[in-house]
Symmetry: D2
Subunit: 258 residues, 4 copies
Amino acid sequence: MIDMQNTQPTYALSLKKVGINDLILPIAIVQENTDLQHTIANISVATSLDENHKGTHMSRLIESILSSCEKIEQDTLKNIAENLLIRLDAKNAYISFDFPYFIEKKSPHTQKIAPVSYSCKLTYQINENKHSYSYTLKIPVMTLCPCSKAISQYGAHSQRAFIDLSVTINEHIHFEKLIKIAENTASSPIYTLLKREDEKCITEQAYDNPTFVEDVARNLAQEIHKLKEIHSFTLSVESIESIHNHNAFASIDSSSFL
Amino acid sequence: MIDMQNTQPTYALSLKKVGINDLILPIAIVQENTDLQHTIANISVATSLDENHKGTHMSRLIESILSSCEKIEQDTLKNIAENLLIRLDAKNAYISFDFPYFIEKKSPHTQKIAPVSYSCKLTYQINENKHSYSYTLKIPVMTLCPCSKAISQYGAHSQRAFIDLSVTINEHIHFEKLIKIAENTASSPIYTLLKREDEKCITEQAYDNPTFVEDVARNLAQEIHKLKEIHSFTLSVESIESIHNHNAFASIDSSSFL
Amino acid sequence: MIDMQNTQPTYALSLKKVGINDLILPIAIVQENTDLQHTIANISVATSLDENHKGTHMSRLIESILSSCEKIEQDTLKNIAENLLIRLDAKNAYISFDFPYFIEKKSPHTQKIAPVSYSCKLTYQINENKHSYSYTLKIPVMTLCPCSKAISQYGAHSQRAFIDLSVTINEHIHFEKLIKIAENTASSPIYTLLKREDEKCITEQAYDNPTFVEDVARNLAQEIHKLKEIHSFTLSVESIESIHNHNAFASIDSSSFL
Amino acid sequence: MIDMQNTQPTYALSLKKVGINDLILPIAIVQENTDLQHTIANISVATSLDENHKGTHMSRLIESILSSCEKIEQDTLKNIAENLLIRLDAKNAYISFDFPYFIEKKSPHTQKIAPVSYSCKLTYQINENKHSYSYTLKIPVMTLCPCSKAISQYGAHSQRAFIDLSVTINEHIHFEKLIKIAENTASSPIYTLLKREDEKCITEQAYDNPTFVEDVARNLAQEIHKLKEIHSFTLSVESIESIHNHNAFASIDSSSFL
């Protein structure tokens, strides 16, 4: 059977990444408390392709992933990436897992517990022999507008906002820790389950603590910058403005500290 | 050249709808003030197919649409639908155009003018010789929580919410009229362009006028029910809760008035 | 603390559904082989609201769901729905769980096993004391165009297509059974992991078995109609046409058999 | 009235970008033939914010955009960006317009004309006094698998694929030219309106011209590299594989030519 992939391409050009996107698989990931959390990942996996091969062997990329999904630990993505370099005789490798991650959260007054969903993405790259591991988190929060509060006789508009935080790590840091830090930089965290006493608590806390997207971005940058586990970061805060049909956003990265 | 579509199907079953989805085309639609508004539509067009034909002729469906996009008037969809019945020798026809529609809106205090975008969908059906024409509008508004206001010492959480209103008409009614009615049933309309004086105005208005999604749904149902142009309606209000990572919604239809 | 929800609404109108959308939670569901499958659901839960209450108690809706997610069995949604009627003193209840469901599938020649993801939705309703339970499945398949094959000297365009099958059940039927039936009505099933021998197999099978979306719709309707577990159905087949930038679709429901 | 935005932030950190996202507005853009094309843009506009200001003035960002939408010419985004620097006293500015763009395309045999929709994005940045202008195009094409063709006795699977091409320009180049170049690098272009004679033509052309995503990426890189109007580029090709429920992709950028 002919192996078209192993023939010469028309143009002898090396490709940055060749692989698959949008592969949906069940995974289990080790939590901060060492329990396994079951979730569903949208996976991308690719390697570079040199100028002498027409195509890659896509099925090998999938086989490299399949055996590792049952328990994602700190070294799992690194191991997959290193294995890919050998298996596909490639120079560079790229893997990402994008999944909802759940944290049990207590409501502020009645202490009711319910899971909150956060979008998480793990990205491992080997590029020219350099390894880099990134965590990307999308964290819903509430922002209450400082301008609206200051200029109005009463009230202040608030809305759901999202923090997109991407960190390249020096060493492992738990999602739980990053999420807790991020939630405390906005007007209030958000929750899945709230009783009226909790709602009163959050309403007043947000009013006492108004934040522009600019404030949340600076507050969080200041905190992330302190963490020794983090090599570099980019972050963006986007609010679903309740007075507009468009969003407001602010972004900053670790270069602001150079 | 063989016409496979005209051969007998394996199973002699009639099909409800056969056609195309997700066709993107530029259109122009006549506004309330008779000016043409240029926009982009996502179009679906289909007819029924009887039990003696294996397939439809998709290109005819597209040709029926292409010639009509330059000026969408009150009778345009009806004409396309009737033309489809003849051209495809079909019993039933179905057409929908889904597009953003813009209305110039003045801010409440400084009177600054800027367009606001609304999702609109026109749906025309001929089914067993009965014609029906529906307008579906998605209208962004602000809701401010009456419970949060009542129980808190100060402040009240607010958020962007969306009204989904679908009306089957007896006679034409302008989008502009339906949108204005809908916007006045929530805590506040939203705007594209606001100066600080406007923001103060909206903040205070929303605080003075708290609404649950349930309130907005009832307020709007009450108003739509009065309109002689409307034969029947369904509506749903969904708020992007600022204290949660999920949405709250309420729905009602014209059967509540029977 | 004031209970605003229990006050009278401005307009004494009953609401069809009041509840929450877009609640993301981990669930576990019992498979055909009785093993538990862990997945992530997008949940909607609502009840009707009578004309004498301004608002519902959203937190009770969530509490009704939270305790049931660890093991979704045949009666779980029914139990949640019945519990909601009591807990919220409501006449009607509505619950849906939308989640990816995985089936281990063998490739046709090399018998390599890998999970394929299918979108599934369970919907339970109690409406005017009538109960109805629906399963909705989105099943990816391949269609190869009979017209293209018939008129061309060689080749025939093919593409990924999706079957959307919604059945209201008389009694439980396994997803696995419905999915297998559906996959056999198209030109070929699709797979996660394929070796070249498998690819040859599928390519030739699809060419031997060309199907319009119309054919797939009729083939599947014919099969579903025979199942005693099914009370009624609607189905639609949509292909991501490889020669167009729009999709082709065909739909049919159980009324074609009346 | 207090100007909160002009107060000092808690942390004296400069922000990369502060602005708005997801602003939907009608625009008109000058075509290759100098006619105006009306379309709808999703707009993002932002500036940097120095360490001495708590917030930006969002309404000024919108005002800068509103007056320019009626006729987008070659210098329009540059003018908006330069104006933003002055109006917001900022160091850096960023603007993007994302919109469908239509080209009238003749079918290959019957020469039927119909518009095809392409996603286009214009991005203008002034960063540390350096200006850069990028065009990003999403171009649907057909790929037919060379491996499937080579190993099968008859047939070959094909599918819709998308080319994502992003170029930073030295001087203006028409979308029409870039799109035509891109479409000729795949197995076949796609069309809105095709008669059977056209379908035969495309089916046979695609079978005669099989391409992996890797081939399309290399073919297009080779062509783009030759264009004197282009300063640098990145491109990715992603196919909606008809035999899988995931996509295949390949990417390359101008660094492969260094």
